[in-house]
């Protein structure tokens, strides 16, 4: 199970402000509390209202999907044509999946992912990509998580180990017994972030200096 907590309205509106037409995508899967159609609709009207208060106008359409953490499914279920931006109600994985599947439409997080519970389902390769840090940065990093996709969790990457866009540390593919099956060269997370922000014409976000992560949230065991 994945626990998420709403980001402040101001922060979310800040992501959407430059755009006119927003697709708010809920997720019917494991997020708790639920972040499905009803919540997507609520956020759609909240965002329209926030715009009006500022004397602007944005149009929001709300939909939901079975789950946002599956690239194949998302490709099939979501048709974002006509929208300039996506607001994801899902966890940090959902936001990253949307950014990858629809690279021409930026997707922003409405949630801080704070907790990933235990799930027993065992299917194919799983990419970590979100550690439920509770302070989601995806809105500033082109929808690619530096805390998990950078081997050093750098806030101001890349480091000197990024050669030809690849990380100095290969990712270890492990089986369910925890044994390393294969070591695979992986993309440098910060190189991906750079290219993504460049494509989005938001290199100002890349240049921004970021304070270190607040690790006090990570003290285990955690309880919600």
């Amino acid at each position: 199970m994945i626990i998420t907590k709403e980001k402040p309205i101001e922060e979310i509106y800040g992501f959407l402000e430059p755009f006119g037409s927003v697709l708010v995508v809920g997720c019917d899967s494991c997020t708790q509390p639920p972040r499905g159609l009803r919540e997507a609709e609520t956020y759609a009207s909240l965002m329209e209202m926030a715009a009006r208060v500022k004397g602007k106008e944005i149009k929001c359409e709300a939909i939901t999907v079975v789950r946002q953490c599956c690239s194949e499914g998302v490709k099939e279920w979501i048709k974002p044509d006509g929208h300039e931006v996506i607001l994801s109600m899902a966890c940090g994985i959902g936001v990253q999946v949307l950014n990858e599947v629809f690279p021409e439409i930026p997707a922003f997080p409405a949630q801080n992912t704070v907790f990933v519970g235990w799930e027993e389902k065992r299917e194919g390769i799983m990419y970590e990509n979100c550690r439920a840090c509770g302070d989601c940065l995806l809105g500033e990093t082109g929808g690619i998580c530096p805390r998990t996709r950078c081997a050093k969790g750098m806030m101001n990457g890349p480091c000197g180990g990024c050669i030809d866009g690849k990380c100095e540390i290969p990712v270890q593919l492990r089986n369910w017994r925890g044994e390393v099956v294969e070591e695979i060269k992986q993309d440098c997370g910060w190189y991906l972030i750079f290219n993504r922000l460049k494509a989005m014409k938001r290199l100002d976000l890349f240049e921004k200096y970021r304070e270190p992560t607040d690790y006090s949230i990570w003290t285990n065991p955690r309880r919600i």
């Binding site: 050093k152 750098m154 050669i163 540390i169 290199l203 890349f206 270190p212 992560t213």
Partner: protein, 311 residues
């Protein structure tokens, strides 16, 4: 951004003198004799202002670079650049070490991310990376100029007086990305850049041109190899370093000279000619100095420096 020159190195850079720094690599040992000998050699060359003391390079465990830098500086009189990685220490330990460096009279820190623990001698270690290198620069700058750590806790009494450097990635691709990175580091107070070793002067020039707008004085790293094997090692095994083909070919030819003394002399001469031209070129492009990384191979160093700035 408040800035002062505390170290000899920073003062010379500020005075626009073309500076030379060297490299010292203490090992997994409490015996610093050899490293101190190398420091003395560098010191005796006369024009080398300071030398870096490496911190667990390549994540191979070694004696504390703080302790080594202090002892070397004390016993040889050569100013040290204390290298400090965020790989192994969280922000609490970093504050302690920076205060320690201040108390011990160390005036330079090179703030590094460091190689990941998985590549070194202790792959099962927990990598720390509580901060990254930019955050470390920020921390040092705040301690030195505001007397506070990142959480605003105050330092009692005098503040450490330290200049802080950062590593430059000559081969960063695209260079535009490197420029943005350095801009962030300039914003939090980096005083100088030392680049990794570069052999191709065109790459060094390309880098200097690109980072010029950032405005941080840049020392270009060079590594005169003592043998063909060493040059080959760089070309083949050091990620991100390209050794030009002509350079390799020339070294290959020289390696075939059977008389050892003649071969040694030839290689030295070649290094001197090659790197004097190289350094003159980067100096023209506005480099603040050169960081000579070759350890334990003094022969070409004095003549290279002389060739560039005279006796």
């Amino acid at each position: 951004m408040e800035k002062k020159a505390f170290s000899e190195l920073a003062k010379k850079i500020e005075a626009k003198e073309f500076v030379f720094t060297g490299e010292l690599e203490p090992h997994r040992s409490i015996d610093l004799t050899e490293v101190k000998e190398w420091a003395t050699t560098l010191k005796e060359i006369g024009k080398i202002i300071a030398a870096n003391v490496t911190d667990n390079p390549r994540s191979d465990s070694a004696i504390s670079s703080l302790v080594a830098a202090y002892l070397i500086q004390r016993d040889t009189g050569l100013e040290c650049v204390y290298q400090l990685r965020v790989t192994d220490r969280n922000r609490l330990a970093l504050v302690s070490d920076i205060l320690g460096a201040g108390a011990l009279g160390l005036k330079n820190i090179l703030a590094l991310a460091g190689d990941h623990t998985r590549v070194g001698t202790t792959p099962k270690a927990k990598p720390v990376f509580d901060l990254d290198s930019a955050n470390l620069i920020d921390l040092i700058h705040r301690m030195v100029y505001e007397g506070k750590d990142l959480d605003g806790n105050e330092i009692h009494g005098p503040r450490p007086e330290i200049n802080v450097g950062t590593a430059g990635g000559i081969m960063a691709e695209p260079l535009e990305m490197e420029v943005f990175k350095l801009k962030r580091k300039a914003k939090v107070g980096a005083d100088f850049i030392q680049t990794q070793a570069v052999f191709d002067v065109n790459l060094a020039v390309r880098y200097l041109k690109a980072v010029k707008e950032v405005g941080i004085p840049t020392l270009i790293g060079i590594f005169p190899p003592r043998s063909y094997a060493q040059a080959e090692f760089f070309g083949k095994f050091v990620p991100g370093v390209i050794v030009p083909k002509e350079f390799m070919d020339d070294f290959k030819k020289m390696s075939e000279i059977t008389d050892k003394a003649v071969r040694k002399e030839k290689i030295k001469e070649y290094n001197v000619n090659y790197f004097v031209d190289f350094i003159k070129e980067v100096r023209k492009e506005g480099a603040a100095g050169c960081h000579i990384m070759a350890v334990g191979y003094p022969d070409p160093i004095a003549p290279i420096i002389e060739g560039v700035i005279g006796k």
